[in-house]
Symmetry: D2
Subunit: 420 residues, 4 copies
């Protein structure tokens, strides 16, 4: 079994490696290739990766390369975790929308659109090259915005699944609060990537008892605090929104916070510098504690589980990003949604979803429309398509802002946009 990680030089990679090492029974990797054009980073990360495998007695080999096609040739699965433009571009995404009083964030709003525009062409080019040298490989996409990127891959006919750590994070969190094993916790998780709600938390199986009302009654304050939302919203809705719904439910408050604090990108950039220094220490043979602060908790567990089910044909249920195909009847079949799905060697098949409250369905429909237009802009380019995507976004929606944000998006991303 061969895996390749595109963007393998990320400071995040040791987290993934640690997961591969711990979970080698679930996913017995024989050959792991880290692919990255940034040779310096790749060397530091690759060295630590090998020391982690060695320390934990993992028998697989780890190699590094800047040559994409050489790296992925013959792979069974290819993980995408790249960031076009790096933390500098992310810092831009988080800053210029604030000038219009709009949220600056790298996966939603105007910043998320900028990231989609930079990312989709690069990912499609990579996927095309993967298809040439590893036609049987599954592409597992972590790269944000996962919904739009996954849809671009699926529309181009690739064997792709989109993956996010929001659902597994809730599963682990709730399991801890309930003091049960994570696999006992089955979520009624529904929506689009970064626009999801946990509507039920069932114990033992997908039809087990729903303990969410009890969880909210007993741990509502802790759950809400984790989401940086007021407790009342969880009590009142009776469901648990994802952290990213803060950008909707508390938009203006978040804008005020962001306007008067250091950007997340800038914090992460400082952390990455520090991590790379640590990775260079030949005595280090485990992931450092600091890495936990970088975000991405449980990504490695989710990736191992997904790859294992795809490659070993397990037929178990996991939360993934995949084609709607009638699951949410108010969306087109080729919309990409994030729901529990049966995963096996043929791919992902969403479980049926109970009807949605209009409170959630309306927002999902609106954001899906934005994603349609965002993907169109990413694939075909042009200032007008960017404008339309921005105007359609529920966090923007106004002509004056859509105009100004279009100008700012283009001005800050010109080097990454072929048409600009």
């Amino acid at each position: 079994m061969k895996l390749a990680v595109v963007g393998g030089g990320s400071t995040y990679t040791p987290e993934l490696i640690d997961g591969f090492a711990r979970l080698r029974d679930t996913l017995p990797i024989e050959e792991l290739v880290l692919v990255d054009p940034a040779a310096d980073r790749l060397e530091l990360v690759g060295g630590l990766a090998r020391r982690i495998f060695a320390k934990q007695g993992h028998p697989g080999t780890i190699t590094t390369t800047a040559d994409l096609e050489a790296g992925v040739a013959g792979a069974d699965a290819v993980l995408l975790q790249l960031r076009v433009g790096g933390q500098a571009a992310r810092n831009q995404d988080e800053t210029w929308p604030l000038e219009c009083g709009c949220v600056g964030q790298e996966t939603t709003g105007a910043g998320g659109l900028a990231k989609a525009l930079r990312t989709v062409p690069v990912v499609l080019d990579i996927a095309e090259r993967v298809r040439r040298v590893a036609p049987q490989a599954w592409i597992i996409d972590f790269t944000n915005p996962v919904g739009i990127v996954t849809r671009a891959l699926l529309q181009a006919g690739h064997k792709a699944v989109g993956l996010c750590n929001v659902a597994i994070g809730f599963q682990r969190k709730f399991a801890a609060l309930l003091d049960v094993a994570p696999e006992q916790v089955h979520l009624d998780h529904v929506g689009l990537n970064h626009l999801t709600w946990e509507r039920a938390v069932r114990l033992g199986g997908p039809r087990g008892e729903d303990v969410l009302p009890k969880l909210i009654a007993e741990h509502g304050a802790a759950i809400a605090a984790d989401l940086h939302m007021p407790r009342e919203i969880v009590d009142r809705l009776g469901v648990v929104p994802s952290y990213y719904l803060r950008y909707y439910y508390a938009h203006d408050e978040v804008v005020r916070e962001l306007s008067t604090s250091e950007s997340r990108a800038s914090q992460v950039a400082a952390m990455e510098k520090q991590l790379l220094e640590m990775y260079g220490d030949p005595a280090l043979d485990e992931k450092p504690e600091l890495l936990a602060k970088r975000g991405g908790a449980f990504y490695s567990e989710a990736a191992v589980a997904l790859a294992s089910s795809l490659l070993r044909n397990t037929g178990d249920v996991q939360v993934v990003n995949t084609y709607n195909n009638g699951t949410l009847p108010f969306l087109a079949d080729d919309a990409v949604i994030e729901v529990p799905a049966v995963v096996d060697g043929t791919g992902t098949t969403p479980l049926p979803v109970p009807p949605l409250d209009p409170l959630y369905a309306g927002l999902i429909a609106n954001v899906t429309a934005y994603e349609d237009l965002a993907l169109e802009a990413a694939l075909r380019g042009g200032r007008d398509r960017v404008f339309k995507a921005l105007l359609s976004h529920p966090l923007i929606g106004q002509y004056e802002y859509a105009e100004a944000l279009t100008d700012k998006l283009v001005a800050h991303n010109r080097e990454h946009l072929a048409w600009a």
Copy 2:
């Protein structure tokens, strides 16, 4: 042929009467009853109505009554044009949302919800009484918010059609710009009441040449000025949004305007006072010019046309509010939409609608979800339902505002809400 107008004491009524008089060949009314609990107003308005009929030689009788059931008994059509709480309630709708930085308006946003909550129970009670004494009558609803009120009527099994003057206004406007007869102009008008776009303007028939691009090129500035929107938005979208889309596309600008100017309700209240004084003059036998400023242009033409088609089974095409029934595939069948429909003695049947750009479909889906929740709140009451409807509205969407607006809505409308 007998017609009844519920809310007949409105200062607007002479406009309607003038239309009935001018268009008596289209709609040969024999008996017209103005129903209103406000005896003083009704007397003034009824007197002028009779003088208008007399002057124009209309042979029909006009009577007035405060007794609803007596007034509508045996009617062929009942027009609803009431306003629960009057201009004072409207003034509230236009004011308190501004305290949260949200638009204050009587048909959309938090103010529109307040009006829906006040109006739906009253209209349903009237319709029930109409059904008892005039079971065959068509109910034509002008009462805002027309979409939600019409849906309430249809869900309760009434023979109802919702009517708005936006489409006929555009038809007349475009006809004037094109220098053709109004009936030559066929609109591709689509959306929900007060959330519509003109996507095509066809000459001669529903498949005639689309002259909208030409209209925009030649008269874009005038069209945009009428809508109080920047010309660029019409140029860029290539469609003509309804005036009410200002509350979306220019939300913050409108809030700033409203925050620093006299409310529309207060202007209308002053105008109504002046109008009622005029109506009392026994020498007045036509609608005064001032009435044109009160709004509602072409309502009488639209009402006459609709009633005529329903009662005389014409089978022509008019823009109405009616059940979706698959017309817009992304909405439920029982959503109420505003589109061109064939109107005959059996009711209204929407024409097929070409697929919508996601830019419009996303917003329509979101506002339909709000209307679902608004109707639920209007029918069943309760602070929580009000909160959910507000949170779902794309012009609100934030927890903090939904909470505060719920409090304000209830505080300002307590006397009109049975459950509060």
Copy 3:
């Protein structure tokens, strides 16, 4: 010794009575008259007042009357604590400015101006009548805005002193934190009413050791929490601003809070209803605990101390509102400032004040200019003078808002403004 309290029917009066009873050695009142036009309230409050005196064995008499001149005739001191328009007017002051994104509060900003306009003519009329029947009486003004009202009284030649509980509140708070007797604490308190800073806290006397740095270091968090300000601001400035500086230093945050919560006036109105019910209970013979929540802590102590010094010629130092007379060299002599002053039978003489940091002097100068214009508007009336006062206020300062707020102020206060 005879005292009269104008506005004696206030629910707050029992607090004052309790102070008179406890501190009868300092201020041996023989005759106390509660004057108020609201006969119902006055009876309830007067009854409780007498029961409090009786329980505590105070030998003085308490009478009530709606007749101002009869009540104040021959008094040695007259306390003014009235509220023109009551809590309803206050509720307006706290609400309509929010529609422009401006703070709504009854002593500062546009709401404070409204209160000044309503109050100054009434107070001047009362003072004129006091002068006729009790020419020797001192007028002690608690009525807000104290700075502007006191200046109006002084300019009209009355024997007046303005009093606020901010300084005594800090004295008691700091004494508690330092575990010393309140009279040991001497404040370097400087500014205008509701625009003051504590620059030093001296122990033992006006030249004693300044323990403010120590207080901030040890209790900064508690002090800031009391002020509803972030701790950093106290640490960084090294002085303690009054609570009312929140409206400046945290203006937008306060506006957001006020926009989404019940007005203070509405809370107080509910509390007053409850208090009046309690006062009617003939078994009640002490101030109820609920009264502490109504605000105004230590007002009775401050009033007793001030009246005692004026009437008994003590020559001690108290914080009062009085003519500047060169104390702050950058203000005119007839500006009214709030500083420690020697108080004796001849009136109040400010102590010298060490030079002010421009950070405070600039704001004091600006707000004094506003108070000039506000007083002009209160005395002479007219929309233009209101506009100018609003435009000059540092919390407004913009043409668009000053215009809109002028309209709103006039519309909401017409019945109280002779010229409107």
Copy 4:
């Protein structure tokens, strides 16, 4: 007579040269030195300067140098027109404050403070070197913020006068509207640099008839349009505020404009590029028309007049920035104000100023306090001093913004701040 222009490589210089050539009878320059470290620009600008002199038959010599001391040695007057950090720094000044909803501008608010912090140390260093090699020279400062820079120069004991083109611009504008010669127009111009009002426009002399009411009545619309302010503000105040008062009277509107449009710096940078290309054309021997769009109209006239009066001891009246010395009684003597002054060989002596309306005095006092703190921060550095200056600014005034803007100011200007 020798003049030196520090910052002589500015694209603006040809405007100055053109003025020197046209007005050589007023100011007979024999030797003109353009000093600038940017050799490339200097060569282009110097070449055009010489061609302008030649074409107009001016007998003086023009030399260029990067060596400050060589250039200014023996000069009679030194003009300062430099910009530390260039248009790039200005672009920053105009951008980051918007993220906090505060105006971004290079002479006022947080951007103006940034410019002061960058500029004061550089100007003081230049002035010190001027004093060594040309101790008798007058320093004429155009460099913004002129008020703060002039105060820094005067406090350090330099022979300095601050100059701005606002007053001369109004003089020329009003003269044109009145159809009289500019020298017939005497302004009652008062305030601080970029914070001034024209209170009277007198014809013939400083005691001539005040025609301002007539000007406003007849040309109010044109005057207001020039200032980008609503006409009502000029009508209502009865005075003409400087253009820069937009940042106060229409702050939020300006922020919205700036947030959704290209920065002025970016426009100027594009224009400068184009101008430099033109200047390189050896056939060009006059200032190009495009230069008029760059701003700074009538600066050369004002500079010639001021230098002439200082060097030729004329004793006429001009509007300058100079020490207050009791002119405005509510400011300290060493505040720098902008008023008409007698200018002769001994320097500038302000004319007496009629008392100010509190509407203007309050704002002047507050901004002067800010300028005190800004100069303190510029001279002594430190994050805390920056914070205090920002908190004291009437356009900021809030803790949260002052904190965030301090961080942003430091982050964007680190390379120009010795202490950061």
